[in-house]
C-alpha cells in the first residue's frame, strides 16, 4: 500500500513511475532525464528562495541563505561545498528534518513547507536518507535495520520479510541478514544504510556525505551502488559531498555552495570545463590532475626545455587525433610529457601537455591550426616560460594549497571506467 501511495502525487502521466511492487522498474525512461532538459517533467525537488537561520540577533548563523534550486526527476544531483557551507542543512530542509526560516520547499510537486507534523512524516517516508556515520540501530540486526522503515510504514510481516530479502540481495549483503551492525565493515554498514533508505520505496534518496567516512576502495563501491540505484530503480539522488571526485564520477548536475549560498549550478561537465565561481574553480582543481601545477611545470621544464603547450581534450570539440594529425601535417616533433584524459559525467575530458620540437615558424603555424580545433595553452619554453592562467588562478586562490601537484599520486580511486593516461610519463617518447 505504501508503494502505491508513493506514486499518487505525480500527476504527470508520462513520467509517472510504474507502481513498484519489486525493486526493478519496467520503464527505464527516468534514467534519460539527466540528458534531457525535460522542461515538461515535474521536478523532483524545488527550493524556492530558501533560507535557514540558526539563532538570532548577533549570534544568528545563516546556514542557508536564499537558495533556489531545482532537482530534476531521475538525476543524480550533487551539492558540493566545504564544511560549514550549509550543504548538510540544505539537505535536511528537503525532508523537513529542519524547517525553513523563509522560502518554500517543494517535493514531487507538493509544497512541504508549513505542513503539520503528521503530514511531514508522510513526506519523509517517501524520501530515503543515507548518512556519513551510517546511523544504523545497533540494537537491531541488519535485517531489522532494513525492516525498520517498513514497520514505520505499516507493512505486514510477510511483505517486510520479502522486501528485506530483496534489498539485501540488491546491495549484496544477503548473507549478513542476521549480523549486527558492529560486526560489519564501514562499506557494509553503508550498504545496509542504503538498503534501509530504499526499503519504503522512496522516489528520492538523500546521501549526506555518504562516502566521507570510507576508504577510497569502499568509496568507489558505494558510489557504484548509488549509480546503480539511480540507473536501475530510477530514483532521484541528491549527493552532499566535499569531494569533487564524488561529483565527477557520480553526479549529472552539481550546485557549488559557499557561505550558505549556491554560487554555481550546472551540468557537471560544464562546471568542470568552465568553472566560473572561485569556489567552483577550487573544487574542480582538486579533482583534475591533468594540468601540471606550477611546481610540476618547473620540473617538466628542467627535463623538457623546449616549447610546451597544453592541449585540452573535450567531447566533440577536440580529440587526441587532431593533435597527432596536425603534428604530422606540420612536420613538428611532439612528445607527450604530462596530462591525462578521463571522464567527467561519462564524457571524455582532460588535456595533454606536449613538448614541441621544430623550427619556430612551423611551430607557429601548427599552433594556429591546432587552436582552431582545441583549447590550447602555450606554456612557452624553459628560457621564456608562460603560465597556464587556469593553474595560476588555482594556485593563487584560497584553496591554492590544494592545487594539484600529483607527483607520486597513486592514481585516483574513484570513477567509472576512467583511464588516466600518460600520467606524468614520457609515453610520447623523446
Amino acid at each position: 500500500m505504501a508503494g502505491e501511495r508513493l506514486t499518487d502525487r505525480q500527476p504527470d502521466g508520462a513520467r509517472r513511475p510504474a507502481p513498484r511492487t519489486g525493486l526493478r522498474r519496467e520503464e527505464p525512461d527516468v534514467t534519460e532525464a539527466p540528458r534531457d532538459p525535460g522542461g515538461d517533467a515535474q521536478p523532483a525537488i524545488e527550493l524556492r528562495h530558501v533560507s535557514k537561520t540558526f539563532g538570532d540577533g548577533e549570534h544568528a548563523v545563516h546556514a542557508v541563505d536564499d537558495v533556489s534550486l531545482t532537482v530534476r526527476r531521475g538525476e543524480i544531483f550533487g551539492v558540493i561545498g566545504y564544511s560549514g557551507a550549509g550543504k548538510s542543512t540544505l539537505v535536511r530542509l528537503i525532508n523537513a528534518l529542519e524547517t525553513v526560516t523563509s522560502g518554500e520547499v517543494v517535493v514531487d510537486g507538493q509544497v512541504i513547507t508549513g505542513l503539520p507534523e503528521r503530514r511531514v512524516r508522510e513526506v519523509r517516508s517517501r524520501i530515503g536518507m543515507v548518512f556519513q556515520q551510517f546511523n544504523l540501530l545497533s540494537s537491531r540486526t541488519v535485517a531489522g535495520n532494513v525492516a525498520y522503515p517498513l514497520k514505520v510504514a505499516g507493512w505486514s510481516r510477510e511483505k517486510r520479510a520479502a522486501r528485506v530479502a530483496e534489498l539485501l540481495a540488491f546491495v549484496g549483503l544477503a548473507d549478513k541478514a542476521k549480523a549486527y551492525p558492529r560486526q560489519l565493515s564501514g562499506g557494509q554498514k553503508q550498504r545496509v544504510g542504503i538498503a534501509r533508505a530504499l526499503a519504503a520505496q522512496p522516489t528520492i534518496l538523500l546521501a549526506d556525505e555518504a562516502t566521507s567516512a570510507l576508504d577510497p576502495e569502499t568509496t568507489r563501491e558505494v558510489l557504484a551502488l548509488l549509480r546503480r540505484v539511480n540507473a536501475e530503480l530510477g530514483i532521484t539522488i541528491v549527493v552532499i559531498t566535499h569531494e569533487m571526485e564524488v561529483v565527477r564520477s557520480t553526479c549529472h548536475r552539481v550546485a557549488v555552495m559557499e557561505h550558505g549560498k549556491v554560487v554555481e549550478t550546472g551540468d557537471v561537465y560544464d562546471v568542470f570545463s568552465a568553472p566560473s565561481a572561485d569556489a567552483a574553480q577550487r573544487f574542480v582543481g582538486t579533482a583534475l590532475h591533468d594540468r601540471p601545477s606550477r611546481e610540476t611545470l618547473a620540473r617538466l621544464r628542467e627535463r623538457h626545455p623546449g616549447r610546451l603547450v597544453t592541449v585540452g581534450v573535450r567531447e566533440g570539440a577536440s580529440t587526441g587525433s587532431d593533435l597527432f594529425r596536425l603534428l604530422r601535417e606540420h612536420d613538428v616533433d611532439g612528445s607527450v610529457v604530462y596530462g591525462g584524459i578521463s571522464e567527467v559525467g561519462e564524457r571524455p575530458f582532460g588535456s595533454l601537455t606536449v613538448e614541441l620540437d621544430a623550427p619556430g615558424d612551423r611551430v607557429a603555424s601548427f599552433l594556429a591550426a591546432l587552436a582552431e580545433h582545441a583549447d590550447v595553452v602555450d606554456l612557452g619554453t624553459a628560457a621564456h616560460p608562460l603560465d597556464d592562467p587556469r593553474v595560476a588562478r588555482l594556485s593563487a586562490g584560497p584553496g591554492g594549497g590544494d592545487a594539484p601537484d600529483d607527483d607520486g599520486d597513486p592514481g585516483d580511486p574513484y570513477g567509472t571506467a576512467r583511464d588516466t593516461l600518460f600520467r606524468h610519463g614520457n609515453l610520447g617518447g623523446r
Binding site: R124, M129, F131, N135, S139, Y148, K151
Partner: protein
C-alpha cells in the same frame, strides 16, 4: 546461641521476604515511573526530540529538589501523602510508597544519563524515516540504551535495597530492620554479620544477573 537461631531463623526468612517485597514493588513502580520521568527529561532537553524549555526546567528542578532530601526525612515528610494513598503510615506497606517515590526520582537521572549517550544520528535517521516521537522513544531510544539501562537498574536495585534498611523507623520490616533490632540493638553481632552476609549474597546475585543481561543486550 543455637536456641537464639532456632527462633531467629523464621524471622530472618520473613524479613528476607519483606525486603524482596519492598524492593521489587519499589523497583517495578518507581522504576517504571522513573523511566518515564528520565525519558521526559531527555526528550525535552535542548536540541532533542520534543525540546521544551519549560517542561524540562520544571522537571529538572523537581528532581534536583527531591533527590538530595535524606531518605529518612523524606519518609516522614511524605507521611500525609502516604496516609492518603496507602491508608496508614505504619508498616512495610506504608514504607513501600515513599521508597517507590524516591526510587522514581533516582531512576530518572540514571535513565536520562544513559539516554544522553545515544548517538543523535540514530534518532535523526529514525526521524528521516518518518517515525513518530513515540515510536522513536519505544523502538529507538530504549532499545539502543538497553545495556546501560540494565546496568543502571542493577545499580538501583542495590540502592533501593540500601534504602529499605530504614523501614523500621515507621514499623516496617525487612533484613535491615532485622539486623538493627535483633542484632545491633541487642549487641548480637552474629545476627548482624549473618544478615549482612545475606544482603551481600543478594547483591552479588543481582549484579551477576545484571551483567549477564547487559552483555546479552549489547550483542557482542
Amino acid at each position: 546461641m543455637n536456641r537464639d537461631w532456632s527462633q531467629l531463623w523464621p524471622i530472618l526468612v520473613e524479613s528476607f521476604g519483606q525486603t524482596l517485597q519492598m524492593v521489587s514493588v519499589a523497583l517495578l513502580t518507581g522504576g517504571l515511573a522513573g523511566l518515564a520521568l528520565g525519558i521526559a527529561l531527555y526528550v525535552t532537553r535542548r536540541g532533542n526530540l520534543l525540546e521544551n524549555r519549560w517542561v524540562f526546567g520544571v522537571l529538572n528542578v523537581l528532581v534536583n529538589v527531591v533527590r538530595p532530601i535524606p531518605f529518612i526525612i523524606f519518609v516522614t515528610l511524605l507521611g500525609p501523602v502516604t496516609l492518603q494513598v496507602v491508608g496508614t503510615t505504619l508498616g512495610t506497606e506504608a514504607f513501600i510508597f515513599p521508597l517507590s517515590v524516591m526510587t522514581a526520582f533516582g531512576t530518572s537521572r540514571i535513565v536520562e544519563q544513559n539516554l544522553v549517550g545515544i548517538d543523535p544520528g540514530v534518532v535523526e535517521a529514525a526521524r528521516a524515516m518518518g517515525a513518530s516521537s513515540w515510536r522513536i522513544i519505544t523502538t529507538v531510544l530504549v532499545p539502543e540504551a538497553l545495556a546501560p539501562l540494565i546496568l543502571g537498574y542493577t545499580f538501583l536495585f542495590i540502592a533501593v535495597l540500601d534504602m529499605s534498611a530504614i523501614a523500621g523507623i515507621i514499623g516496617g520490616g525487612g533484613l535491615g530492620n532485622f539486623a538493627i533490632v535483633y542484632g545491633y540493638q541487642r549487641y548480637n553481632w552474629g545476627v548482624v554479620v549473618v544478615t549482612v552476609l545475606v544482603i551481600i549474597a543478594i547483591v552479588q546475585v543481582a549484579q551477576l544477573l545484571g551483567n549477564w543481561l547487559a552483555r546479552k543486550a549489547l550483542h557482542r
